[in-house]
C-alpha cells in the first residue's frame, strides 16, 4: 500500500489509515469507536511530532496542499479530537453527556 503521509512522517504511517479523516463528523465518530489505549498510543506518537508537522505544512501553499500534506493536516485535527479523552475525560465520550450529540454540519476547508 502506498504511503498516505509525506515521507518525513513515515513514523506516523501506522496511524494514518484510521485517523486521516477529512471531516469533524468522521473524526468524532472514530474517537467514539476507539479504546483509550488506541487513542493514548496515537496521541503519544503524534504530539511529539506536532511541531515538526506544523513547520512542514507551513512551508507549503496553504490553499493548495498536496494530498499527503492534507492527510497530515487531518491527522493533526484528529490529534486535537483525541486530546480531550486522553487529557481530561479518560473515556471517549464527554462524561455525563448521555445520549446528547452535537452534529458538525459544515466546517472550513482545508
Amino acid at each position: 500500500m502506498s504511503a498516505l503521509l509525506p515521507e518525513a512522517f513515515a513514523d506516523l504511517e501506522p496511524f494514518a489509515a484510521k485517523w486521516c479523516l477529512p471531516t469533524e463528523h468522521e473524526r468524532y465518530t472514530a474517537r467514539l469507536a476507539s479504546t483509550m489505549q488506541e487513542m493514548q498510543a496515537f496521541y503519544d506518537a503524534v504530539v511529539s511530532r506536532a511541531e515538526d508537522a506544523m513547520s512542514y505544512l507551513e512551508r507549503l501553499p496553504y490553499d493548495g496542499l498536496p494530498e499527503d500534506a492534507l492527510n497530515l493536516l487531518h491527522l493533526l485535527y484528529s490529534m486535537i479530537q483525541v486530546s480531550f479523552p486522553v487529557e481530561v475525560w479518560s473515556q471517549p465520550r464527554v462524561p455525563d453527556s448521555g445520549s446528547a450529540s452535537f452534529d458538525c454540519l459544515s466546517e472550513p476547508m482545508p
Binding site: L73, Q81, F84, V88, S99, P108
Partner: protein, 419 residues
Amino acid sequence: MPRFPKPPEGSWTQHYPDLGTAPVSYEDSITPEFYEREREAIFKRAWLNVGRVEQLPRKGSYFTKDIDAAHASIILVRDREGRVRAFHNICRHRGNKLVWSDDPKQDTAGFCRQFTCKYHGWRYGLDGSLNFIQQEGEFFDVDKSRYGLAPVHCDVWAGFVFVNFAREPEQSLREFLGPMVTALEGYPFEKQTSRFQYSTTIRANWKLYMDAFAEFYHAPVLHASQSPEKYAKAALEAGFEAPHYQLDGPHRLVSTSGVRFWEMDSELVKPMESVTRSGLFGPWDKIDLGEMPSGVNPAGCDPWGLDSFQLFPNFVILIWSQGWYLTYHYWPTSHNTHVFEGNVYFAPATGIRDRIAQEMAAVTFKEYALQDSNTLEATQMMLETRYVDRFLLNDQEILLRHLHKVVGDWVNDHEEARK
C-alpha cells in the same frame, strides 16, 4: 467582597428594580399550553434572526428555514436587484411546500433563477411573482399578479438577516434591537466568514438553554474537569463573577473578564492548548480586527474576555476578545424540546497554525456545549415533576430572571391587547 464593583443599589439585580429578587417559577418552561401562547405572542411578533447575508452570496442564492415556533417555513432569497427577501415557502396552487430537496422536513439551500413547484410546475420569480401556471387555460380567469408568493417582513442589520411574522411589525428592526445591540455596528462580522456549523436537538425547553449560557458561574463546577486539576481547584475556590451586566428592553448582555492563558504556568493549561496555542477563549495569538465599535466591551474590562449579547427572543451573539465570535439559536419545537444551533466564526485562516488554532477552539466549544446540553435534559425532567415550584437566582443569574420576566410580559401584554 465582590471582586468587581457592583451598581450603587448593591447588586446588578437591584439596579433593575422591576426584576425583583424573589425566587422564580419555571412553569413557563414545562407547560405545553404556555408554549402555544409563546408562539403567538413572541415568535409571531418579534424579529427573528435566521442567518447571515453571506449565506446568500449572489443573485438567486436561497436557503429555506422551518420555524416551528411560528408555524412557518420560509424561503430567504437574494433577488435580481441584490435585495434579501423572505417568502412563505408555499405554492399558491395547492399548498405544496415549494422549495425542498429530498426530504421536505429538512432545510435546504442553493442557487436558482426561479422557483418551480415539484407538484404541478408553477413557477415564481426571485421577487416572488407568479410567472407560469401549467395548463393555465384550464383555470378560470386567473390574474397571476394576485398570486405571487406570500411575503414575510425581512430586514438586515450588520449582515444578520431577520424576519418578522406579524402582519405589520410593531417596531422596525432597528427600533426593536435598541441602542445596546445597534452599538455593535461596525464590528467586522463580515470579515469572519470561516464557519463551523453545529446543530443538535435538546430535550429541554428553549429558555433553559438560553439560561445555561446566560451565566458563566456554572463554569468552575460543571466544566471543572475540562481543566488541569490545579487550575480547576483555584477556579472553584475563587468562584465566578462577571464584571458587567446590562439590560436594554428585551435584550441582555453579560461581559466577562479575560484570562491570559499564554502567560500561565504549564501546569494550569492543557498540553493540547500549548501545542495548538488555543483553547476555550480562542486562538492565543489575537487576530487584529481593527478598532472596535463602542458596543463591544461597553464596560471597558481589561483584560476583557467576551461579551455575550442575548437578543430577544432566541438569538445570541458572543464576541470573544481574541478576535472571533459565536452565534447561538434556540428554535423551540415543543414545550420540552428545541433545536440548538451553534456557529463558530473566524476570519479565514491564512496559514496552518491559524487553522490549527481555530480547530482547537471549535472542538473545545463542542466539548463544553455537550456538557451543557445534557445537564439541561436533567433539569427539564425534574422541573416537570412539579414537586418544587420556586427556585433561587443569585446576582450572577440576573439575565435568567430577565428572560423569564420578558417572556411573561410579552405573552401577557399581547393577550391583554387582544381582549
